[in-house]
């Protein structure tokens, strides 16, 4: 029972972070119908930016978080300007290949600045590592803080999407770009901000995750695959789906690690992706899509 509750608590915490990564993927996919394959590397850069500011420059945690999010936002915009805007009329393959190019470029740059393969940087913990007891459940206070912060980021994101002008522009563009153009929305600018927002959410999740795990240049792809698994499970176009998918992937992964073996943890995301694509191609909450010709 104690083990189960521990696994569930960990699963929900990491799942919430996967949900954030998935959220970034879904927001970009909804608007542009491409998946940014450099999304994981944007996540990784967000984490390293925060590390540089917090550990090396010794800024407090919250300003480091905000600056890292701003940095990721800028990188997201750069991704749009370099790999999406000039290539969107060339088709999906070109955009995917270009974002893969960017992902390796960023990974190489991170390796130059923050150490070679196998160098894992530890991010200092936010709070004391004392576990908290809620009823029968033991939870690490660190996890609780991360979980609450993740929920806060989701809330901020939801409010931004539903109430602000920019958020409404994004929604309009995602649902019908031609109609959005007709009512005077500058669609390619919206795409740019969409990439920025997606990257900013990835950056925020990296800064939140950093105290729980370690940072290394290859972390981006690991998180990207997990975020993509969550996004696909949720249907790839649904924001609530991404959140549910993220939690499911997190919990599934922890349960598999706890009851089958820890090496399964690394591979559970692949199993989820292949299962979801073959048996649940529209996801749990996705709209049954009409295939365009």
């Amino acid at each position: 029972m104690l083990m189960l509750s521990y696994l569930l608590a960990t699963g929900i915490t990491t799942g919430a972070l996967y949900a954030l990564v998935a959220l970034g993927i879904v927001v970009v996919y909804k608007a542009t119908e491409v998946v940014n394959l450099a999304h994981g590397e944007l996540f990784m850069m967000g984490g390293f930016l925060a590390y540089t500011l917090h550990v090396m420059v010794k800024l407090p945690y919250v300003p480091s978080l905000l600056l890292a999010v701003a940095g990721s936002f800028a990188l997201g915009i750069l991704t749009d300007r370099v790999a999406f805007r000039p290539l969107m009329k060339e088709g999906l393959a070109s955009v995917l290949l270009a974002t893969i190019g960017i992902s390796f470029l960023l990974k190489g740059i991170a390796r130059v600045f923050w150490g070679g393969k196998g160098d894992y940087l530890a991010f200092p913990p936010l709070v004391s590592p004392e576990p908290i007891r809620i009823g029968n459940v033991m939870i690490m206070s660190q996890q609780l803080v991360v979980l609450l912060a993740t929920l806060a980021v989701m809330l901020v994101f939801g409010v931004f999407f539903k109430t602000t002008r920019a958020g409404k522009f994004m929604q309009a563009t995602a649902s019908n770009p031609r109609a959005a153009t007709l009512v005077g929305i500058h669609v390619s600018r919206v795409y740019m901000y969409t990439f920025g927002v997606g990257a900013a959410v990835a950056g925020a999740s990296a800064v939140l995750m950093a105290p729980l795990t370690l940072l290394y240049p290859d972390i981006g792809f690991v998180l990207f695959i997990k975020g993509f698994a969550a996004a696909v499970l949720g249907g790839l176009t649904s924001v609530p789906g991404a959140i549910v998918g993220g939690l499911l992937v997190g919990i599934f992964e922890q349960l598999a690690a706890g009851f089958i073996g820890t090496t399964i943890q690394d591979v559970s995301a692949f199993i989820v992706i292949m299962f979801a694509l073959i048996f649940l191609p529209t996801g749990i909450l996705g709209v049954r899509g009409i295939r365009k010709i």
Binding site: E33, L92, G108, K117, P177
Partner: protein, 342 residues
């Protein structure tokens, strides 16, 4: 004076040079030449699948690994001779490659890309963690085949084997793209629905494309343990994926000679940067990005334009993407008002 070089002459000269390389070169150059031919095989297989058949799959490095591990493990675990193990490894990769065609019939574009990427990572995980069979992360040494009967060192012997295999596979790819199968690939890439209406059996030709590509990658893989005498999971990781992709994009998508050019140049570059992993990632990432942005038809297009006599028909997917799901973004850019031209 204008230099007239036909694309055929280029291939003949290149392979003639590769054939005499062992006579003049030292052991390291011989190794690089051998590696170059392995990558030519890989690039040819990938180009058939991505450049010609338009299936944006990311499992090439995995097929390469399956071929290599198949050939190496059959020797080390079951004590089979290399000459039996190697074809088995290649056929194993081909079989698994063909299986990937089944999801490919249902999935397209982004879903296919990511399903195959996930499969590639899954393969990598199996190589790393199935310790009782694969020896885990450290890899394992593999004995090189014996060429003493021909009076040759193993390095030199396997070099000639690779040379023959590469020439045969190159000629075969050359034939395939000019056959009914090759035309079906291009039709399928350009517009699936139209190809189907013209009687192209999509399942069959997708299966053929994946099988061919798996066989090419598996063959390169089966040669790998004999060339390097060592196999480890690191040789088939994500970086290999981007390397193979960069080779066909730099050389020229939908071009046989382009695959050869891209593979040869990038292997040379890879060797120059051998020591620095970070630099390799930066250079190959930037190279892929730059070619997709500025020269998406690859170097071969450039060559064809400026070298008279170069007459290879190119099959670059000119205006459409390689998948059937046209992005909505397209309409906004191209059709400013009325019905989109698609």
């Amino acid at each position: 004076m204008r230099v007239v070089v036909s694309h055929r002459a280029f291939l003949v000269v290149l392979f003639a040079a590769l054939a005499v390389l062992p006579v003049v070169a030292n052991q390291y150059t011989l190794f690089v030449g051998n590696l170059m031919m392995l990558y030519i095989i890989l690039a040819l297989g990938l180009n058939l699948l991505v450049g010609f058949a338009g299936q944006l799959a990311f499992a090439n490095a995995a097929m390469y690994g399956i071929g290599a591990y198949g050939a190496a493990l059959l020797q080390v675990r079951l004590g089979l001779s290399y000459w039996i193990a190697a074809p088995c490894g290649a056929l194993l990769a081909m079989a698994i490659g063909t299986l990937l065609a089944f999801p490919a019939l249902r999935l397209s574009g982004i879903y296919l890309a990511l399903a195959t990427l996930a499969f590639a990572q899954f393969t990598q995980w199996v190589l790393l963690h199935w310790n009782t069979v694969t020896f885990g992360a450290g890899g394992f040494p593999v004995p090189q085949p014996d060429f003493s009967a021909l009076g040759m060192s193993p390095d030199r012997g396997i070099y000639y084997v690779t040379w023959v295999v590469t020439v045969v596979l190159l000629a075969f790819a050359w034939r395939v793209v000019r056959s009914r199968v090759g035309r079906a690939f291009v039709a399928m890439r350009d517009r699936e629905m139209a190809a189907q209406a013209l009687g192209v059996d999509l399942l069959r030709y997708k299966a053929v494309a994946f099988a061919l590509s798996g066989f090419y990658a598996g063959t390169a893989g089966a040669l790998y343990p004999a060339v390097l005498a060592y196999v480890s999971p690191e040789g088939f990781d994500l970086f290999q994926m981007i390397l193979h992709k960069a080779m066909i994009v730099v050389g020229g998508m939908g071009s046989i000679v382009g695959s050869v050019i891209g593979a040869s140049l990038l292997v040379y570059l890879l060797e120059l940067l051998r020591q620095f992993k970070a630099t390799q990632e930066i250079v190959f990432g930037a190279l892929l990005l730059a070619f997709v942005l500025f020269q998406p038809r690859g170097l071969v297009y450039f060559v064809k334009r400026y070298v008279p006599g170069w007459a290879e028909p190119l099959h670059y997917a000119s205006d459409s993407g390689s998948s059937s799901d046209v992005t909505v973004a397209d309409e906004v850019v191209t059709g400013s008002g009325g019905g989109a031209p698609r």
